[in-house]
Symmetry: C2
């Protein structure tokens, strides 16, 4: 069978396999980015017009595009509805951007670590990935300047607000510095913000795209983390030089995003009901984060270091005694515990052993302590065997 050359770069997806394993009800999964079941809002369908069953426009529903543009402007993103494209979950933004920008060998600039599924999507199309190390308040600016001086990336892909996996939120100073560098070198920014609304401790800084003066940009978000992931409704907002191409690529990919989910999203965005739901969600997740922090203090303080995440869905642990955490996965699953090894979030996994990403939103509190205790035990056993 003669496949395309890109198929040789098609990796078996750890995310997919873990999510499949985590479907077993007995598994305590710290692996995915799944919302807590009790916080999935009850949605009504009775008022949906029959016309939502018909084919729609590739751009998305006009009213939803308006609502998203309004929300984005309130965040400081300069845009109007004509720049909004509704996508089938923000994962699709990565596919469309890959098609728009990436040939085999095209350089793209990423954080280290970065979102695993983004890395896989870019690499599938043949991207040559260049990494900038992540610090507690955002990327190393000197390293970013050096990369931009020595490379010509087609775009920089950044997750500045509660990054997946590191939970880092860029500081104001680093947001400004990143914007200035991208403007200086004329590099397009793809800013991915699925977690912006899941903020626990204080308001979030304005997006980096709102600080750009010259560079082109794509800003992407989703309702998956705040409403219902099963709807598969996300969006991108793009500068006018990019939008027409992204629209045609969207049409070629799947004609348009399902209208049922678009209609449901529109019932929530910008509404009082949604604001109330978000407030409840933040309270709920803050409590879960605090509960995990307490249990981590108990079982992991001698094993790992971490920062308390101020938003998002993850703790990012750095083992004091590094080992390849991929080797922990099988023994953990044998104990009915799932987690996400840190190595695959790096371009060069073998050079970055010793991180674990732990989701705090999904496991019920009554199983949290047991799950983390088992995981700590798996780590201790592995380390004692070295």
């Amino acid at each position: 069978m003669a496949f395309s050359e890109r198929v040789a770069r098609l990796k078996s997806s750890l995310i997919r396999e873990i999510l499949a394993a985590a479907q077993r009800p007995e598994v305590m999964s710290f692996a995915g980015g799944l919302p807590a079941e009790p916080m999935l809002p009850k949605v009504e369908w009775a008022d949906m017009p029959a016309s939502m069953g018909q084919y729609g426009m590739s751009e998305g529903e006009p009213a939803l595009r308006e609502a998203i543009a309004t929300e984005a402007r309130a965040l400081g993103v300069p845009c109007d509805a004509s720049q909004v494209l509704i996508v089938s979950g923000s994962q699709q933004t990565l596919d469309l951007a890959s098609k728009l920008f990436i040939d085999p060998g095209t350089e793209v600039l990423l954080e280290a670590p970065t979102y695993l599924a983004a890395l896989q999507a870019f690499q599938l199309f043949g991207a040559e990935c260049i990494a900038v190390p992540q610090e507690a308040d955002g990327p190393q600016i000197d390293a970013l300047r050096e990369r931009l001086q020595n490379h010509k990336p087609a775009f920089a892909y950044l997750i500045p607000t509660f990054q997946n996996p590191s939970a880092v939120r860029y500081s104001e100073a680093k947001r400004d510095a990143v914007a200035a560098l991208l403007d200086e070198f004329g590099v397009t920014l793809i800013e991915d913000e699925p977690y912006r609304e899941l903020v626990f401790d204080q308001g979030s800084a304005t997006p980096i795209v709102s600080r750009l003066h010259k560079a082109s940009w794509i800003y992407t978000g989703t309702v998956s983390k705040t409403l219902l992931p099963g709807l598969r409704v996300g969006y991108l907002i793009a500068t006018p030089d990019l939008y027409p191409y992204l629209l045609r690529l969207k049409q070629s990919a799947d004609l348009h995003t399902n209208r049922i989910g678009q209609w449901q999203a529109l019932q929530w965005l910008g509404s009082e009901k949604y604001r109330g739901h978000l407030a409840e969600l933040r309270d709920f997740y803050r409590i879960r984060r605090d509960a995990m922090q307490a249990v981590l203090e108990e079982h992991f303080s001698d094993l790992a270091d971490w920062q308390i995440p101020q938003g998002g869905l993850f703790f990012w642990l750095t083992l004091k005694q590094p080992l390849d955490t991929r080797t922990l996965l099988a023994p953990a699953l044998a104990q009915n515990v799932a987690f996400m090894p840190g190595e695959p979030f790096f371009i060069d996994p073998d050079a970055h052993p010793g991180h674990l990403r732990l989701n705090f939103s999904h496991v019920a509190p009554e199983r949290l302590a047991e799950g983390l205790k088992r995981l700590a035990e798996v780590i201790r056993q592995a380390q004692s065997a070295i």
Copy 2:
């Protein structure tokens, strides 16, 4: 701005622009493949479990995959549920297959004419398209053999049942001959069947994939033409050598298909209610087809030749005095009439002037005669101006 080289092959989509124009309520559109609004079934959502709001599996909902495999086996397609992948509309099958097979210069084999959006998807990835002329009962078999002897296509993409745009249904003999040739040359078949259930005059022949003994295959369908296109739920069934790659490509494209639409599709597939709806749909469309046939006889019998379609959604007209039908689009739209020019359905549009694709499902009967009369007038004026 440095885009990927594929962007240079990204064509402005006639379909998208016509569908956009056809959204104006005053337009009588014979252009799209839109189901008739009155035949969109009333669907219920009240019983949908809240769990459908959560993330799901990339493969699709297990129960829906079972239901689709059961239906396919009843058609003669040898498969089980593990070979079924739920996709975001069958357009996505074309995107996934393109990613799996096509590098710049990869040869693929198509009917002439073929489905426009398939042609665009394959060409976007750089396919070198090879065409086999379509006859009234399927492809020219001698031409197919010649192409297979002289080329090495990665796959053959065929729409054997009420083809879009030509409305051709392959005969039994041609189905067997095509299967034998693909087996002989070891060429993968992608069989696209959106219109199979829309049959007006007699039962349809079994799929070609069920006649293959050696060649790999992908069989793809959708609920868009029989239930609700706005759900964006389609499926593919693939031989086990292809399935794992398609699954990973699906995950990279959009994680999974929306579960809301999948749940709704499951309420219908294989049910008594669905069989009843299909029977009503066939009756309804048969009447619309007959109505269009009567009006065409009146206004087009001196202008064009055509076959009466036995299924699907389209008449395919061949002008007796060929001209580039793309030049008719603007004057037709000025008369509030939309249709689909035939040229873009060919690899070499300029070499195939003089066809029009007319959809008979969408325009209400009371506007049908007026719309076609205006279109005939536009053609007459253009021909008199030559």
